[in-house]
């Protein structure tokens, strides 16, 4: 597959760019932040995203989705990154849909149409330690009645306070860091024993610490095979990581555009600051870095659509590179704006906050460098 967007994908890009610019611009992000909206996103915008087919981007047509694939999901996420649009896109449309495609026909029929309609929110409750480590699962699932009893603490559940269903990774066998023995469960957050502590984040997105105390789940709510949840989890995470890379590409793009604009406007020493070569070279270098991040991200999304064996490697490449570049782009953005860059009234700081959170989510550049090295056999 050539490493470019198809005509259809270019059309999706144009409509996504237009949609988020109109419906969920940075000004809305600021408004949500100022109004202390508890979930950090607007339900209205999410409903409109569902109408556009964005919520069902990875949902098969048979279940009412648009089934446009990962490249399309990435295009939508990039447009969200450009505008800092917050929505449960990652947790529900990407992670949730990917998880449920591994479910039983009954589970698929129950959840997938609701995901596509934007009528049901999901959240992944996997990470326990502060540093991402998906195989580190100490939460236990012990047989009980016709199902299991869950006990444990999940430290970082994105959109955890807004979710209608939690996808919980728990251990049915093995030791804490084993890959085998992890099982995924669909858990109602209102069930007895589930405690949700809201953790509002630096980027104004909602997350939660979820504590599970003797939570009874039915056998029918196991997702995939018992003990084999790790493979599904990795698939979900890889889809999520590639989409986060795309979102970070958008964050980098706007940070960079704002910065280059400012270099052309601001005057000091009687000249535009953009005429100083020290700044020109940093901007030119950043331009190259963003181009590299774009190539890696598109490759990862295409590899996921192709179901390639090398998809995990390309996903880590994209997540590492786009993460590093988003940090650079937003840091340079703040620095080259000088004092105004540090003010809350000015938007560039929002981009730096989002870059930090997105690159941390599901593994930072260090995590993914290590993962690539392992995949390449060193």
């Amino acid at each position: 597959m050539p490493l470019i967007l198809t005509d259809d994908q270019q059309m999706i890009r144009d409509s996504a760019d237009g949609f988020f610019k109109d419906e969920a611009p940075v000004a809305l992000h600021r408004q949500l932040r100022d109004s202390a909206e508890p979930n950090g996103f607007s339900r209205d915008v999410w409903a409109k995203m569902a109408e556009m087919g964005f919520a069902g981007v990875l949902v098969p047509e048979a279940h009412g989705g648009a089934d446009m694939g990962h490249v399309a999901a990435g295009i939508i996420m990039e447009a969200m990154g450009k505008n800092l649009s917050a929505a449960p896109m990652l947790s529900t449309a990407v992670l949730g849909a990917t998880a449920l495609k591994a479910g039983t026909p009954e589970q698929q029929a129950k959840y997938l149409p609701l995901i596509a309609q934007g009528a049901h929110l999901l959240a992944l409750a996997a990470d326990e330690a502060a540093r991402h480590k998906p195989n580190h699962v100490a939460t236990t699932a012990t047989p009980s009645g016709n199902g299991f009893k869950l006990n444990g603490v999940k430290g970082f559940v994105l959109d955890g306070a807004a979710a209608d269903t939690l996808i919980v990774a728990a251990r049915t066998s093995g030791e804490t860091d084993d890959h085998a023995g992890i099982t995924l469960f669909l858990v109602n957050p209102k069930a007895d024993g589930v405690k949700i502590d809201r953790r509002h984040m630096v980027d104004n997105r909602g997350a939660a610490r979820v504590t599970l105390s003797d939570v009874q789940v039915d056998g029918a709510d196991v997702l995939g095979a018992v003990g084999e949840g790790h493979a599904i989890l990795e698939k979900m995470l890889d889809a999520g990581r590639a989409c986060l890379a795309a979102e970070m590409l958008g964050v980098s793009g706007t940070s960079f555009a704002m910065t280059v604009d400012y270099l052309k406007q601001r005057e000091q020493f009687g000249q535009k600051i953009g005429s100083f070569q020290a700044l020109q070279h940093r901007a030119a270098h950043l331009f190259c870095e963003i181009e590299l991040a774009r190539s890696a991200t598109l490759k990862a999304l295409q590899a996921l659509d192709e179901g390639s064996d090398r998809a995990p490697m390309f996903v880590s490449l994209a997540k590492a590179k786009a993460g590093e570049v988003a940090i650079l782009a937003s840091n340079e953005g703040v620095q080259m704006h000088g004092g105004i860059g540090m003010t809350d009234a000015f938007d560039i700081g929002f981009f730096m906050k989002r870059a930090r959170a997105a690159q941390e989510t599901f593994g930072d550049a260090a995590f993914h460098s290590d993962r690539i090295a392992r995949q390449l056999g060193y």
Binding site: P2, L3, I4, L5, V260, L263, K264, Q271, K272, G274, S275, Q277, Q280, H281, A283, A284, H285, F287, C288, E291, L292, A293, R294, S295, A296, L298, K299, L317, A320, K321, S369, D370, I372, A373, R374, L376, G377, Y378
Partner: protein
């Protein structure tokens, strides 16, 4: 597609029958690379035969028109050819500034007689070219060059000197930037001349590099008579040609040495062989971090080359990217060579020794430092991006 499959099958069969086994061995020494030319010293018969056979088919320059000695292949066919060559690890039959730099400029700016005269000889490796751009006083600020070409009616009289002229002492002809109008603004008085290095008044003096070898020269012109028909394009418009040629040179320098892909082994594979694994992890974990970081950039860079090519082909072109590829590709290659030196540790420091190959790595490392200087420095590439892509003030 069916046509392409047939082409692939035919190409494969032809290569099997015509590529000598010696030409499928990895390149080990400088003289394994064939540069052609009047005075070409072939290392062995296989090298000569391989060049002749590929030259006869025009496959040294697969995409040039057949009328000018090229293979007349489409982009897709040329890709098949290069894939099939890679499959059997065939060496490139010919390395040539004529192919990489002058040829594309001749195709665009040369007149019919010049194309007919020079392109086939480049394709067959009969004439070896050198590049006369830089002067002692004109490097990054190339347009300030002073070598003069005085109009004498039927010929130009060329006087001055060029420096850092790669392989000037081995080349047959030179493509040379000269000033034909000293009164014009500096970019407008420049012309592009082609002439024989055997012309009376041309002399060269080799310059030794930090690696100990001397691939480049200072080149002197003392009343050299160059026939008028050797002017390429219009007098005074040479700067446009010079810039066009530079984009090809930059693609070549940025692209050839930069990625972990292609014929070259990746840094991590070399590290695995030389350092070894400990519980499936490179035994030197500090170096492993640096290597992984480098490989992420090398992979993302080779994907960027792939994307830029796909975009150009489909007309989605982003443009002005050759400076990006030159800048990033050469910086990456320098980093690669530094990592290889670190991986080899004290063994990498050997410059001369008893064993075959001693000193090769150190010399390659030293040579790689020139990548971000030759063909326009990294700083100059960043200036170009700032000006042409970002449109920054005063850049």
């Amino acid at each position: 597609m069916a046509d392409l499959d047939t082409f692939r099958a035919e190409t494969r069969a032809w290569l099997e029958a015509n590529c000598p086994p010696e030409m499928r061995e990895p390149i080990r020494d400088d003289d394994d690379v064939c540069w052609g030319g009047r005075n070409c010293q072939f290392k062995n018969d296989a090298q000569r035969v391989w060049l002749e056979r590929m030259g006869a088919k025009g496959w040294t320059v697969p995409e040039w028109p057949a009328d000018y000695g090229g293979g007349g292949l489409s982009r897709a066919e040329a890709k098949v050819l290069s894939e099939e060559m890679r499959r059997i690890k065939a060496r490139s039959p010919l390395s040539s500034f004529g192919i990489w730099m002058l040829g594309p400029a001749l195709l665009k700016y040369g007149n019919e007689a010049q194309k007919k005269e020079h392109l086939p000889k480049i394709a067959r490796g009969e004439i070896r070219w050198c590049q006369g751009y830089s002067e002692p006083g004109a490097g990054s600020d190339l347009a300030s060059l002073r070598t003069s070409a005085e109009d004498k009616g039927d010929h130009y009289l060329v006087n001055g000197s060029k420096v850092w002229t790669s392989y000037a002492d081995k080349a047959d002809w030179i493509f040379c930037l000269v000033r034909t109008d000293p009164a014009a603004p500096k970019h407008l008085g420049i012309s592009f001349l082609l002439f024989d290095m055997a012309s009376p008044g041309v002399s060269t003096s080799p310059i030794k590099l930090i690696s100990g070898s001397s691939p480049f020269c200072q080149t002197f012109f003392d009343n050299v008579k160059v026939p008028k028909e050797n002017l390429m394009g219009t007098a005074g418009k040479g700067w446009d040609i010079a810039k066009y040629l530079l984009t090809h040179e930059r693609d070549m320098i940025g692209g050839s040495d930069s990625t972990g892909g292609g014929q070259r082994d990746s840094v991590s594979n070399i590290a695995k062989r030389l350092i070894g694994l400990d519980a499936a992890i490179l035994a030197d974990t500090a170096l492993r971090t640096d290597i992984a970081r480098h490989e992420i950039n090398a992979l993302a860079f080779s994907l960027t080359m792939e994307r830029v090519m796909a975009e150009t082909k489909s007309g989605q072109g982003t443009g002005a990217l050759s400076s990006m590829l030159k800048y990033y590709g050469t910086e990456l290659n320098k980093e690669r060579m530094q990592l290889l030196m670190s991986i080899r540790g004290s063994d990498g420091l050997v410059f001369d020794g008893e064993e075959k190959g001693d000193g090769d790595l150190a010399r390659s490392w030293l040579r790689s430092r020139a990548n971000s200087i030759e063909g326009g420095t990294s700083e100059v590439q960043l200036n170009i991006i700032a000006k042409r892509v970002l449109d920054l003030p005063g850049a």
